[in-house]
C-alpha cells in the first residue's frame, strides 16, 4: 500500500495541507470545466472539501491498485458532480492532472460527462441518472458482509436526488439490515436545477426522515475538514446502524458570485450571463483569482 494514502500516515497530515489540496482541486475544477465548455460548477466546488478529506485523510485506498480488493469504496450517486471526483482522483494519483484538465467530456475520453465504471480508474459505479447510488452501495455492503470483509463503503449523494423514491427504498433496506459498513454523505447544498430545494421539493426535516428509517445521523459543516474526518471516524464506531452524514455545504463554494445560486448548477464559468456576476469572458479568470487569493490565506488554524 502506498504510504501516502494509508490512514496511519494521514493522522499526521496537517489539516492546512488538506485545505490547500482542496483549494488546488477547486482551481482545477474551474480549469477543466472551462476546457470542456460544459458541465456542472456549483456541486463540484461545494463538495471539494468533502472529497479532499475522503481521499487524503479517510479512505483506505491505493491509487496504484484501483482494483485492490480491500479498498474502501466511494460510490458517487449524483454523477453530475464528476468534475470533483475526477480532479480528486487525479490529485490522488489515479491518473494524470493533464488527463483530468484536458479530456473531460471529449470524444474517446476516459472522463465521461457522468462517471462510467470500467472506463476510469478509481470510479466504482456508473451514475448520472439520480438516485441509483445507494442501492449499489447496499449491494457492495452485502457482498462485503457475506465475504467477511472489513472495508467501508462511502456513498455520496446530493440533496435534490432525495426526491427519488429509489433512495428511500435503499434507505429502508439498509436500515433494516443494519448495514453499518455504509457511511452516506449528503451534499446538503440546498439547491437543485429549478431552484432552492425547499422551494422545489422540501426535504426538511431531513434528519428526522433518516432517523425514522432507522439510520444514525451526523450533521457537519461540509467545509470543515476536521469535522468531516471526525464524522467519518465516529461512523466507524457505530455498529448497530448505517450512518448518514449530512454535510452542509455552500454550492459554488470559493467563488463568491457563484455561491448559493442554483443557476450555476449546470453551467461552467464563461457560459452564463448573470446580473451582478462578472461578464462571461471574465468569469474563469475571476473565479481562479478568488481561489488563489483564498489559498494564500490558508494557515492551518484548525490544528
Amino acid at each position: 500500500m502506498d504510504k501516502r494514502h494509508s490512514p496511519q500516515h494521514r493522522e499526521h497530515t496537517h489539516i492546512g495541507e488538506i485545505e490547500k489540496i482542496a483549494n488546488d482541486i477547486r482551481q482545477d475544477i474551474i480549469k477543466m470545466l472551462v476546457e470542456a465548455g460544459s458541465g456542472h460548477s456549483a456541486g463540484p466546488l461545494g463538495m471539494a472539501d468533502v472529497f479532499t478529506a475522503l481521499y487524503f485523510a479517510v479512505l483506505n485506498h491505493n491509487p496504484q491498485k484501483p482494483n485492490w480488493d480491500e479498498r474502501d469504496r466511494v460510490v458517487l450517486s449524483n454523477g453530475h458532480i464528476a468534475p470533483v471526483l475526477y480532479t480528486t482522483l487525479a490529485h490522488s494519483g489515479y491518473f494524470s492532472r493533464e488527463e483530468a484538465l484536458g479530456t473531460l467530456r471529449k470524444l474517446n475520453s476516459r472522463l465521461q460527462g457522468h462517471p462510467h465504471v470500467g472506463t476510469t480508474p478509481g470510479v466504482e459505479n456508473s451514475s448520472g441518472p439520480l438516485g441509483q447510488g445507494l442501492s449499489q452501495a447496499v449491494g457492495m455492503a452485502l457482498a462485503a458482509r457475506m465475504d467477511g470483509k472489513k472495508h467501508w463503503i462511502y456513498c455520496l449523494m446530493s440533496d435534490g436526488e432525495h426526491d427519488e423514491g429509489q433512495i428511500w427504498e435503499a434507505v429502508m433496506f439498509a436500515g433494516k439490515n443494519r448495514l453499518f459498513q455504509i457511511t452516506g454523505i449528503i451534499d446538503r447544498n440546498n439547491i437543485q436545477i429549478d431552484g432552492m430545494t425547499e422551494d422545489v421539493m422540501p426535504l426538511e426535516p431531513l434528519r428526522e426522515k433518516y432517523e425514522s428509517f432507522n439510520w444514525h445521523v451526523i450533521d457537519v459543516d461540509g467545509h470543515n475538514i476536521q469535522e468531516i474526518i471526525d464524522a467519518c471516524s465516529e461512523a466507524k464506531a457505530i455498529y448497530e446502524k448505517p450512518v448518514m452524514i449530512i454535510a452542509h455545504t455552500i454550492p459554488g463554494k470559493g467563488v463568491g458570485w457563484m455561491e448559493f445560486d442554483y443557476r450555476w448548477h449546470g453551467n461552467p464559468p464563461g457560459t452564463l450571463e448573470v446580473p451582478g456576476d462578472p461578464a462571461k469572458k471574465d468569469q474563469a479568470k475571476s473565479a481562479l483569482d478568488e481561489l488563489r487569493s483564498l489559498r494564500g490565506k490558508i494557515t492551518g488554524e484548525h490544528e
Partner: protein, 326 residues
Amino acid sequence: MSSVKLNPKLFDPEVEAIPTRDGYGEGLVALGEKDPNVVVLTGDLSASTRANKFEEKFPERFIEVGVAEQNMMGIAAGLALSGKIPFVSSYAVFVPGRCWDQLRVSVCYSKANVKVAGAHSGISVGPDGATHQALEDIASVRVLPNIVVEVPCDSIEAKKTTIAIGEHRGPAYFRFGREKTPVITSEDTPFKIGKAEVFRDGMDVTIIACGPLVYQSLVAAKELEKDGISAEVINNHTIKPIDKLTIASGAKKTGAVVTVEEHQINGGLGGAVAEVLAENFPAPMERIGMTDTFGESGAPEELLEKYGMSVKKIKEAARTVVKRKR
C-alpha cells in the same frame, strides 16, 4: 422534390437551426391559450425541456414535481382522470425510462389522457454522455398499447406535434432533441398524426427517417442524385400508429429501403418498418442508427459521425441496399 412545401432555404449553408424542444415550448403556450385544461409538469427540468415557456405564462397550471419521475407520471394520470390534459416534461431517458410501469398501468392501461415529452433524445445530446442519451425510448414505448408515438423532425413540426397531441384524446409520447438542428419544414408543410409525408420523390430507394436526421437524409438523397441514384425520402414522424400505406407504397415503388433514426436500430423505427415490410411488401432494407452500443461524451457532430448516423453512411446504406435488389 415532392409536392410537399418545405423550408425554401433547406439546402442553404446558412439554413436556420433551432432545437426541436423550442417547438415544444411554443406548442405548450399555444395549447395553454386555447384550453384551460392543459397543465404542464416537470421533474426539476423546467428550462431545458422548455416547459418554462408555459410556466412563465400559466404559473397556476404548472406543477413542479422535483426529481421524481414515477410520481410525476402517476400525478399526470390522476390529473387526466379528472379531466385535465397533462404534459409530462423531462428527459427521454427518464420518461419513459424511470417510470415505464407507471406509463403502462396508470396511463396506457387506463387510457388516461397523458402526454409525455421526452427531451434530450438521441446521441446528439453530446457531452453529457451515454447515460443522458436516450436511444431506446421509441422501442420501449411503441410496444405499449393505446399510445401514440411521435418524433418531430424540426422545431416547426415539433410545435405542430405538440398541438396535435394536445388535441388528440389518449396517451401520447413524443421526443425532442437538445441541439440546434436545421429547420426542414415550413408552416405550410402538411402534418397529421399517423400520416408519413414524402418529402422527396425518388425511384431507386426509399429513405425512411424520423427526427432531425430527416435533414441528413434529404442531403444524402440530394447527393445521391449525382451518383445516379434517385432516392425517395419519407418523413415518418409517427412511429405509432405507423403509416403502413405510405411505407409499403414507397417500398413497392423503389424496392429498397433505408431507415434512419437517432435510436438503436433494434426495435425502433427500423424495427417498425421491418415489421411493415415483412407483412406487406418484403424488400431489402438497411438500418442507420445506433448499432447496439451505448453512446459516449463528445460533440454532437462528432458522435453522429463516429456512430454512423452521417450523410456519408446514409449514402453508403442506400448504395448497398440498391445493390441488394433482385
